[in-house]
Symmetry: C2
Subunit: 235 residues, 2 copies
């Protein structure tokens, strides 16, 4: 029987690549997605489509309302920044944590993933965080992930009672976006079903101008592939 | 101006004592409670009552549905154990993590508290976990709390950008229930507005038989006070 794993799945480029990676490594993935009042609610539809594509039988969609907290352009009425130059290594874009940062988001997401893992008897959690081509989020760095792993092994009955040891797999954490896309392509990922834009149009077109779009487009260009997504106008 | 703090408030004996403690230490507390599909939903009403008593202006009640996960007597259709002998240090009760354990619960709660703290600009989080008279929960131990504190300082823009250092205060962690009650009494806590039972009657009477009731009753007896709560029959 295959080893169960929990995969955090947003339906974006990174998490879809991670899902394909976990399957390739021989795991039986259970997917978990979060409806957290984000602007880009289309994410959830993409996550469902990706889960269906990979025939994931257990896909939990957790409703959490981070809008109660506010403080982020992704959940609040703060404008999503456009054309910051992040894809060119622009100093200002890199030195500051952007307004799209959501307080404690990955900690909340990983905590739920841990709860699900413990409930289903899994000890492997896969997450598509990335510290390199990221957007300056502190909770995407290697030290953060290893510390959460340590926490997981202290927090849970499953670990404390010796039934297993939790591993947080973050296989993309040091990859460039181009190399993530190359990895995904080698695993047969269909990127037309993934979505990355922070501020898509109501009919699902990517804006092409937010940090997420810019990094994605640059990654495809560097990897030598066309991005199959529809974008607003030409970008 | 007083320093802001986030206090995890269930409305039970421990968290109410912690709230009084935080106020006594000069903090301006913001309270956070969780409606997590628990059997003892009356908790939320108690939390509201306690928050009102202490004139807390900002009390967030976060709806999270841990029933999606199952696996605990507190959220699932598993019977709450009665008369386990935990209050007498019964070996079986102490060596096993009880079925009332909720997978990753404190990690999820602390993650939300961290998100709220970062949003409001607080760096102090108070939580009423207890490792001594507890009920065998792994996420109530000192090492767990210090590891979460480390995580908090890696996870957040507020810490990474140097605006402050997060402290997780767990002032009850090594106290016996009797000493928690003595502490609360010295701070003027009115324990008639707190509630601890895992399986109360619909009209709000405590069962007197679950681990939580047994530990509470023993604590009051040892501290030399009467528990002002109504219990089912005489217990």
């Amino acid at each position: 029987m295959k080893k169960k794993a929990v995969v955090l799945l947003s339906g974006g480029l990174d998490s879809t690549t991670v899902l394909a990676y976990a399957i390739d490594k021989g795991f039986a993935p259970h997917a978990i997605s979060f409806a957290y009042g984000q602007r880009h609610a289309i994410e959830i539809e993409n996550a469902k489509q990706v889960a269906k594509h990979y025939k994931i039988k257990d896909h939990r969609i957790i409703n959490i309302d981070l809008r109660q907290f506010g403080g982020s352009a992704l959940t609040d009425n703060i404008e999503v920044p456009k054309n910051t130059g992040i894809e060119n290594g622009d100093e200002d874009a890199r030195d500051n944590i952007p307004v799209t940062y959501v307080p404690a988001r990955n900690t909340i997401f990983l905590a739920y993933a841990l709860g699900l893992a413990e409930t289903i008897g899994a000890f492997d959690i896969f997450v598509g965080v990335n510290a390199l081509d990221y957007s300056g989020y502190p909770d995407c760095r290697p030290n953060y992930i290893t510390t959460f792993e340590k926490l997981a092994n202290l927090a849970t009955a499953a670990a404390v009672e010796g039934r297993g040891v939790f591993t947080i797999h973050a296989p993309l954490i040091t990859l460039s976006k181009a190399n993530i896309i190359r990895l995904g392509k080698s695993l047969g990922v269909d990127y037309s079903i993934t979505h990355s834009c922070y501020d898509p149009t109501p009919d699902g077109k990517a804006c092409g101008k937010c940090d997420s779009c810019k990094l994605r487009l640059k990654g495809f260009a560097e990897a030598g592939y066309n991005d199959p997504l529809p974008y607003v106008n030409s970008v």
